[in-house]
């Protein structure tokens, strides 16, 4: 399909989005990620019935925690698509990339950079 995707995001494969936990997303932010998005199957199409619903709840919980510490809950997002929707995958990647660019670097990334400079 030769679809264009942003070059600066990293794909982490999961057996099912139901495998993701709040701490996995928080660790990404703790290490300086500017945003995290989770791409799961269509709601109602989960092979394990509730994996993507669980993932959505955890993404929402992560967003609340990030809001609480001032990192910004809008830096995490849950998307759903089917495995045949390559163009939608690219669209979501571009959408998230655009959002993060508008938000700017994560304050944690900035803090890590400052700490390194001071050291």
């Amino acid at each position: 399909m030769r679809l264009k995707c942003p070059a600066d995001f990293r794909i982490i494969r999961l057996p099912c989005t139901g495998k993701i936990d709040v701490i996995h997303m928080l660790r990404a932010f703790e290490r300086g990620a500017d945003g995290v998005y989770v791409v799961g199957c269509m709601e109602g199409d989960c092979h394990f019935n509730t994996g993507n619903f669980r993932a959505r709840k955890r993404v929402e919980q992560t967003a609340r925690l990030l809001d609480a510490v001032g990192v910004g809950g809008e830096r995490v997002q849950m998307y759903n698509l089917s495995s045949g929707e390559g163009p939608l995958f690219a669209k979501y990647a571009n959408e998230m990339d655009q959002r993060i660019r508008e938000l700017g670097p994560s304050p944690i990334r900035e803090a890590i950079r400052k700490r390194k400079l001071a050291a």
Binding site: F29, V69, P107, I108, A111
Partner: protein, 222 residues
């Protein structure tokens, strides 16, 4: 089991803000099952605190540890070697665990990371409801397995009271009338004659009203 609920993040941040080196200490028992203070919650809270202080440009040491139980000497001893490395312990155990840790390590402040709520059951995923008030003199055998102490707002021993309407309590239309539940279950068990037996005045001295309680079992003491 003991049911606890999470404290707001801001309250926790305010509590620990004066300490440089903090140990977030979880408990593998009740608070793990009710998803308030187990290993997972310790990881999440420690991560959130690290991010908060990092963002504020403050250097803090925030470590994680989860003990099998915080209400037993033997498990609490596991942190004796490292306790001096911290200015404070943020315990995600119930109030018992927080106090027992504080009693054991007198020179280290131990702060509560959860609100301990009640003795309850996991009625459904994400919902816990009260079932016992530890009154010290169980009457469940007489009340068809439904507790009038913990489930009746008035703790009425010979109910229902006049506030029971259509099986619901007057304090809240969503709260079941415990005595309605007792009567329904007694009927189902074919034991309605038990309902006619007037319960004597309850001895509340075994309850919290009698002051802090103690159970001493010489048969298991060594």
């Amino acid at each position: 089991m003991i049911i606890a609920d999470k404290k707001p993040i801001q309250e926790i941040i305010d509590q620990v803000s004066n300490y440089e080196r903090i140990l977030v200490l979880g408990c593998n028992e009740c608070v793990t099952v009710c998803e308030a203070g187990g290993k997972k919650e310790v990881e999440i809270l420690a991560s959130v605190l690290r991010m908060h202080f990092l963002k504020e440009g403050q250097e803090r040491k925030i470590d994680e540890r989860t003990l099998e139980r915080q209400c037993d000497h033997e498990y609490l001893e596991e942190i004796r070697d490292v306790i001096d490395q911290y200015d404070a312990v943020l315990s995600l155990a119930c109030g018992v665990g927080v106090q027992f840790t504080a009693e054991k390590y007198l020179t280290t402040p131990v702060l509560p990371g959860v609100n301990t709520c009640f003795l309850g059951a996991n009625e459904q995923r994400g919902m816990w409801t009260e079932r016992c008030q530890a009154c010290g003199e169980c009457v469940l055998g007489k009340t068809a397995g439904i507790c009038p102490i913990s489930r009746c707002a008035k703790r009425v021993m010979n109910g229902p009271c006049g506030g029971s309407t259509n099986g619901k309590c007057e304090i809240n239309s969503e709260v079941d009338c415990a005595w309605q539940l007792i009567i329904d279950r007694l009927k189902a068990l074919g034991r309605m004659e038990d309902y006619e037996i007037v319960a004597p005045i309850k001895d509340w001295s075994t309850e919290r009203a009698g002051g802090p309680r103690k159970v001493v079992r010489e048969d298991v003491q060594v």
